[in-house]
Every structure is written in C-alpha cells, then in structure tokens.
Symmetry: C2
Subunit: 114 residues, 2 copies
Amino acid sequence: MLQTTIEMEKAAVILKLLGDKTRLTIMKLIDNQACCVCEFVEIFQVSQPSISQHLRKLKDLGLVKEERKGQWIFYSVDKENEYYSFIKPILDQLPNQDYKLKELEENGTRISCC
Amino acid sequence: MLQTTIEMEKAAVILKLLGDKTRLTIMKLIDNQACCVCEFVEIFQVSQPSISQHLRKLKDLGLVKEERKGQWIFYSVDKENEYYSFIKPILDQLPNQDYKLKELEENGTRISCC
DNA sequence: TTAGTATATAACTATTTGCTTATATATACA
DNA sequence: TGTATATATAAGCAAATAGTTATATACTAA
C-alpha cells in the first residue's frame, strides 16, 4: 500500500503548530467534541485573546472549523480537511484529555455555554 | 487494540522539534541511512554550527544517535528510542528525501566522508 | 609533534512566538 | 433601543528560536 504524502513545507508548518502544548491539547480535545472559547480559557487559565489567537492559527491552516451557536462559537477538528490524515495518527497517540472538561463541570466552573 | 500514549508535554516538545523544516528533513533522511554533518551542510546550504545545533537538539531528546567513524560522526534515527513509535507514522507520511543525497553525488559536491 | 579536517560550543543578533491589555465586533435579551 | 456577554483584533513586550562568526575540541596523517 502506498502511503499518501504531504509536502515537507506544509508538514513542518503543521507540526510547528502542534508543537505548542496548549494547541496540541485543544486539538486532542476537539477531535472528540466541539468546544467553545470560554471553555479553553477556563481549562488553560490564560486570557481569552490568547485562546482566540491559537484557534486563529489552527483555523488559518484549515485544521479546525467553527460553528456559531448564538453568541458562542464552537470549534472542532475539521475531519474533511486534506491534512487530517496527517495529524490523525499523532492525535491518536495522545492521552485522552476529556477529564479536563469533566473537571470544569465538577468545579461548576464550566461556563453557561455548555 | 489499545494505542500506547505519550505524555502531552513530551509530545509537544517532540512536535516542536519536528516543526522545523531543516530538522524534519534531516529526520526523514536519516530514517533510512546514516549521514554526517558535512552532508547536511551541503544539502541545506547553512553553516556547520547551524547543523550541529539542530542535531544537538534532536540528540538531547534521544531521537537520533551518533556513531563516530574516524574524524566523521554519522547520525541516524534512534529506532530503539521510546518515542520512535510516536514519530514513525509522521516520518512515514513525508515524501522521500533521498534525492537530496543523490544530487550531492551528481554534483560531485558530496564530501569525502561518504 | 604538527598541520589539516570535522565537529561542537560560545557568544551574539534578528526574527518569531505567545502572552498581555485595550478595544472592536457580534449576538442575546430586557 | 441599550446593556451584557462572547469572541476577534490590534498593539506592545519578554522569551524563545535559528541563524551567524569566532573559537575550542577531537581525530588523522605526515
């Protein structure tokens, strides 16, 4: 079986994006479910613009898609994207991060949106 | 089948290293064969210290191993390393880069070491 | 021992990165 | 409307990064 390949340039750009712990965790989380910005702000304890900027970079590459629901915007991995097959084996090897969402619920710090 | 996982922290560090085009290409090249520093200097057209510093970072994480042969040091991917299973699916999706070595031979610019 | 070659390390610099605060935009709802 | 909430963008800054030149170290061979 011939593996499909990806340009080196593009691969490097994607790997660099995934090489940030915050973005990598976001990607692992939204590979399973859609999350909104406010959840990430709680989870990572950083400012809202910081999260927005991470999401912007992921979106610019087409790795994530967004869906507005009222005043919230939900982000999830875009599995239709041509590079998803490249990142999937990476995400699959990462430990599940859903406990971070559970923690939010338990603390009651999970915001109104979800 | 249960996939083995890797800590998020470690995964991010490895991906960041691979997120540089020079290092990524080096890794792809030495997944097949051992190469010495002087070859990389020719291939990437950067200074020798620049290559040495890239290799140092890869070695610090244990991703590559070195073998001295006389005055030359040959680098190759360390397939015994515990993280090799993490990076292998990534490298496998990259286009083969061996033509870069062939070009060196054809140009006669491939240095004495090889 | 000495000269030449290969590689590593140190020191410096320009660029990139990820964060912050301040502000703009978009939606919901009284 | 007008106010509150969610998100995006702009601007600025400190830290990290990848390159450079200069120099040190390690090995070869005369």
